[in-house]
Symmetry: C2
Subunit: 577 residues, 2 copies
C-alpha cells in the first residue's frame, strides 16, 4: 500500500499517511514541488525549523522501465531562496518504491546539538543518534553504513560540507556498485545538515522484487517500445554510451559556447585535453569502464569509471558539466586533476557545478591562479572540507565569492551558478537560465538539443527568434519528465521519435490503470512550473529576478562577438501559458 | 551660480551643468534619490560601470542655519541592492555649497588598474592618479591630504575596506577639527572603491563665506526661532549635549529593547558599564570633550572626544549605535575596547552598525567568543583591515556571515543589519526596519521618539496599534528633513514644538525666495519615499522583502516575552499614502 512517510526531527518521531487523493497522480518533481508549495512558508529561513526536505519517487520508479531510477529531492533552497528540485540516480528511488514510500517528508529540527541517522525499512522508521560517522566523508559513510547495515542497503548522506550547512552542499546517494551519485544543485545537503541528519539508510529487505503493475502485459509491451527508442536514437544509443556526457566538450567548444576563464571566452584552447574522446581513450587505456549506469535498468549508461595512471579508481559519474567547469572555466587542462577534484567533491559532499563556477570567480578574484588544478584540489580538501574561513567563503558558492570579493563578473541567476553553455552564443539556454524556477539550471529546459544538436529541429543559437518558445516547451516537458522518475536524457528520443513519449504514457497508464493522454502530461508539466513560480513569487521573487547578470549584456563573447540581448519584457513572455 | 558637476571615471573627465528645472527644489536625499532613480538602471550591478555615486548638499547647506551641515550620498547599494542614501556631518557639505555644487555625480569606472583622487576647487575638477596614499587608513589619508593641499580642505575618503570593495565599507568625511565622520550605511565606500577613487579633496578657497540668501533678514529671524526650539527641547537642549546619543543605553535597556547577545535578550546586565552617564564621567575624568559638533554651526553637539586612560585621543563621534552594538550585542562591557574598535573602524573605513551586528552573528557562529572585545579589535585591524579570507567573510556584513555559517538568527532586513532597538519590544521601529526603502535603518523613521521618549505623544511600544501610522508619518517627515541638509535630531523639537518646522520652512523660503508650505514639505517627503520605492520594485524587490527575519516571530524576547506579530498584509498598508 503506497504511503507518505513523515519524519519530525523536532520530536524525533515518524508517521505514515495514505497518499492524499490530490497527490495520487504526482511523482518526482511534481510531488516534491507540490508538498513544498503546500507546506513550507515561502518566506521561511531555508535552514530553519519551517523548511522541509522532501524526497519523492517518480511515477515509474521501482518498475522495469528503462532509465526510470531517478529520485527527486525538494525544499526551499539555501543557495537560491527559491523552491528547489534536484534529482539523482543510485538505488534509493527503487528501494523507496519497493517499500511503498511515494514521498519521505522530513520536517522540524532537533533540539540540542546531537546528530542523527534515519533508518527506513519495511517495519518503519528508526531515528537514532549518530556519532561514529560524524565528520566523515561520503565514501567513508557509505562504507560505514554498509558495514553496519549490510551490503544491500541504499544510503543518502551528507559530507562535511553538508554538516557545515554550506550552500555548496549536495546529498550523496549510493549507486548499485557502491559508488556515489549526487543530488547536486541548490544546497539540499545544507537543508539535510540543518536538520542534523548525517545519513538515511534504506533497507528494502522483505519487499516484493518490483512494484505492483495494474496491467503487466501492457506495461511490458510499452516498455519494450520505449527502450527501443532509447537504443535507436543516436544520442542515447551511441553518443552518450560511448563518450559519456563529455562528448559535448568538443561540440560546445566548436559552437563557441564553452565558457572559459570565468565566462570571458567561448572556446578553450586545450579542449582536446578534456574532451569526451580523450576521456574515453584514457579510461580504456587504464582499464576503467567507459560505460556505466547510475541506476539499475539504465540503458543509456552515460556514466563511467575513470581510473588514475596506476589503474586505481579515481572517480565515476564524471560528467561534462564537471569537466567543463573545473576544466575550461578554470583553465585547468590536466584531466587527472579534474577527476581528483570530482572525487573530492563526491567525498566532502559539494556540488561540482556550483564548485566549478565558484572556482572560476575565485580565480578571477586572485584567490588562486587560473589553471592551478592542484591548488583547487587542495582547497577542496583542506579549506572547504575543513571549514576554514577561506573554505567557508568558497563553500558559499559562486555568488558568495563574487559578493565577498566585490566582483561584477559573477555568472549566477538567482544565486545559482550558470552551467556549461554560454548564454550569449547559445541563447535558448540563456532563456532557461533566466526564467527557470530553480535559478540557473541547464537541465530545466535543455535547449542545447535544438540549438546545437539538431534534436527536435534546429533553432539558430545566435539569434533570438524562437528561443523563448523553445525554452518554454522544453521546461514544460522537463517538469513532466522529472515527475516520472525518468532520466532527463529520454528527452533526446522524446523530441525526435514520436513513439518514445507515447510509450512512456502507456507505461504510466499500465502501471496505475489510468488513461492519461499526452495533453495530460503537458498539463502536468505546466502545473509543476506554475506551482513553483507561485512559491517563488510568494518568497519575494519578481520578474526582475528572471534576468541574466548584467555582464552578459556588456561584454561580447568571442569568437562570435555574441551579446545577451533579450529585454526584460521579452523574457517575461516566457510565463504566457 | 549653482550647478551639477559630473565626473566620468571611464573617461577621466568632468563637466558642469546648470541645475535642471526639475531638480531645482531638491536637496540632500531628495536630490540623490532622484538622480539615482533617473540615471541608474535598477538591475545594474552596484559595483559595476552603470552605478553612480551621487553626493548632494541640502537645501540649507552653507547657510548659518543651526545643525544644517549634513551631506547626503546616494547610489545603488552593494549591501542591500536597494537605492541608498546615507548622510554625514563634517565640512564637505558646507564647502560644496560655497562652491555652488548642488550635486556631484560620479559615473563610470576607469580602465586599467590605477587609482585616482579627485580635487574639487572653484576652478573646477582635477582627476589625478593616486599612489602614495593607497592602502592607507582614513586617518593617514586625512593627514596626507592636509599635508598636500593645506589645512582648510575637506576630505572624503575610503579606507582599506572601501578599496577592497567590502559591503561594510563607509565613506569617511573630515570634521572641522580634522576628526572623522562616517557616511556609514549601505556600503557606499565600496561603490567609491569600485570607481577606484581613494579620496575627494574639496577646497573652497576663493568662494564667498556663505551662500547667497534671497531675503537675509527674514532668514536671520527664522534662524533664531529655529535655534531657540533646538535649545528649548529637553532632548536636543539637554540630553544629547550632556550625554551624547549614548544617553539611550540605560533608557532602552530599561524598556527591554536593548538587543543583547545577538538579539537573544532585550537587556544587558552590564548596561551601566557602557551607559551615556558612565561615558560622560569617563570623558570628563580623562580630559576629553563631552560636547562636540560634527559640523560647524551645530547647536546640539551630541558628539564628543573620548580619550584613553592616559588622556590620549581614542575616538570621537562615539555613538549610541556603536556602543550598543559592539557592547551589549556582543556582550562586551569594557568601554575602552569598544572605543578602540570604533577608532579602528574609522581608520579602516567600516560602518560601525553593520560591524556590530555582524560581530554578534560571528560570535554566535563561534568565530570569536561573546564578550571578547580584544579579539574584536584584532579582527578589525588584522583580518578585515588586511582582507584575509576571514576578514572578507566579516567585511561582507551580518547577512554575509549568517549565510556563510548557515545560521538562522541573522538580524538584517534587505541585507542590512538591524540597529540598536529590538523590534519585538519596540514595535514602531520594527515597522520602519521592515518597510524602509533603505533596508533596516533606525534613522529612516525613528519611532523611539514616540514609543519610548514620549516625544510627539506616546504609543505603547509593545502593542501593534498605531505603529504603522507612526512609522509612516516619521518616514515621510524624515525623508523631507534629509533633503534639507539638517541633522535628523531636529525631529525632536520638530515633533513637540510647532514653531520648529515652521521656522525651518521659513528659512528655506528666505534662502530661495519661494513660498513652500508645510504641506509642500510633507509632499516632498512622500515623493522621496515613492521615488525610492519605485526604484526598489524595479530592482526586483517586492512586498515580501518588507518583512523582518523569521526568528523575530519564533523567539519571544525577555523581559516582556515580546514577539514580532505583524502580518505581511498589515505591513503592506504602510504604502497606503
Amino acid at each position: 500500500m503506497d504511503k507518505i512517510v513523515r519524519v519530525n526531527m523536532s520530536t524525533l518521531t515518524s508517521s505514515n499517511e495514505s497518499v492524499p487523493e490530490a497527490w495520487a497522480g504526482l511523482g518526482g518533481r511534481a510531488m516534491t514541488s507540490t508538498i513544498v508549495a503546500e507546506e513550507v512558508p515561502p518566506t521561511c529561513h531555508p535552514l530553519g525549523v519551517n523548511n522541509k526536505l522532501v524526497f519523492a519517487i517518480g511515477l515509474l520508479s521501482g518498475t522495469s522501465a528503462a532509465s526510470s531510477g531517478r529520485l527527486c529531492g525538494g525544499a526551499k533552497s539555501p543557495l537560491t531562496g527559491t523552491i528547489k528540485e534536484s534529482n539523482v540516480g543510485g538505488t534509493a528511488a527503487r528501494q523507496l518504491a519497493r517499500l511503498g514510500i511515494r514521498a519521505l517528508i522530513i520536517e522540524g529540527m532537533p533540539p540540542g546539538d546531537a546528530w542523527y541517522n534515519i533508518s527506513v525499512t519495511k517495519d518503519g522508521i528508526t531515528i537514532q543518534e549518530e556519532t561514529a560517522l560524524m565528520g566523515a566523508g561520503n565514501f567513508a559513510v557509505a562504507d560505514g553504513v554498509r558495514a553496519r547495515y549490510g551490503d544491500r542497503v541504499g544510503v543518502m548522506s551528507v559530507g562535511p560540507v553538508g554538516e557545515m550547512r554550506m550552500a555548496l552542499a549536495n546529498i550523496s546517494v549510493r549507486d548499485p556498485e557502491g559508488k556515489l551519485r549526487s543530488m547536486g544543485r541548490g544546497g539540499l545537503g545544507a537543508v539535510m545538515g540543518s536538520k542534523r541528519i548525517k545519513f538515511i539508510v534504506i533497507d528494502d529487505t522483505g519487499t516484493p522484487a518490483a512494484v505492483p503493475l495494474h496491467d503487466p502485459e501492457k506495461f511490458k509491451a510499452a516498455g519494450k517500445r520505449f527502450t527501443k527508442t532509447l537504443q535507436e536514437h543516436p544520442v542515447t544509443g551511441q553518443g552518450l554510451p560511448t563518450y559519456g556526457t563529455a562528448v559535448l566538450v568538443n561540440v560546445i567548444n566548436e559552437a563557441g559556447g564553452l565558457p572559459t576563464r570565468n565566462f570571458t571566452q567561448g572556446q578553450f584552447t586545450a579542449h582536446d585535453a578534456i574532451s569526451g574522446e580523450t576521456i574515453h581513450d584514457t579510461i580504456v587505456a587504464r582499464g576503467g569502464k567507459p560505460k556505466h549506469g547510475c541506476h539499475a535498468g539504465c540503458v543509456i549508461q552515460c556514466s563511467q569509471v575513470y581510473n588514475d595512471a596506476d589503474g586505481k579508481y579515481l572517480t565515476s559519474g564524471f560528467e561534462y558539466e564537471t569537466i567543463w567547469g573545473l576544466g575550461a572555466n578554470c583553465c585547468v587542462d590536466v584531466l587527472d586533476d579534474i577527476a581528483l577534484a570530482d572525487n573530492i567533491l563526491d567525498d566532502i559532499g559539494g556540488d561540482s557545478i556550483e564548485a566549478a563556477v565558484m572556482f572560476g570567480v575565485a580565480m578571477e578574484a586572485g584567490v588562486l591562479e587560473f589553471g592551478d588544478g592542484k591548488e583547487m584540489c587542495r582547497m577542496l580538501r583542506e579549506e572547504i572540507g575543513k571549514g576554514t574561513p577561506l573554505g567557508r567563503v568558497l563553500g558559499g558558492g559562486a555568488a558568495n565569492v563574487g559578493r565577498i570579493y566585490g566582483l561584477t563578473r559573477v555568472p549566477v541567476v538567482k544565486g545559482q551558478g550558470i552551467p556549461a553553455y554560454d548564454p550569449r552564443s547559445i541563447k535558448g539556454i540563456g532563456v532557461t537560465y533566466a526564467t527557470s524556477t530553480m535559478g540557473a539550471d541547464h537541465t530545466a529546459g535543455y535547449s542545447i538539443t535544438t540549438n546545437i544538436l539538431n534534436v527536435g529541429g534546429h533553432i539558430d543559437p545566435l539569434k533570438k527568434e524562437g528561443q523563448i518558445e523553445l525554452s518554454r516547451n522544453l521546461q514544460i516537458a522537463t517538469a513532466a519528465v522529472d515527475s516520472t522518475g525518468m532520466c532527463i536524457f529520454i528527452a533526446f528520443p522524446g523530441l525526435d521519435i514520436p513513439d518514445c513519449l507515447a510509450a512512456l504514457v502507456d507505461m504510466i497508464n499500465a502501471r496505475f490503470g489510468i488513461s492519461l493522454t499526452m495533453d495530460d502530461v503537458i498539463n502536468l508539466g505546466k502545473y509543476v512550473l506554475k506551482t513553483e513560480h507561485k512559491f517563488n513569487l510568494a518568497a519575494g521573487f519578481s520578474n526582475e529576478h528572471d534576468r541574466l547578470p548584467e555582464f552578459f549584456s556588456l561584454e561580447p563573447l568571442a569568437p562570435h562577438d555574441a551579446i545577451w540581448d533579450f529585454t526584460g519584457e521579452e523574457l517575461d513572455t516566457f510565463w504566457n501559458f
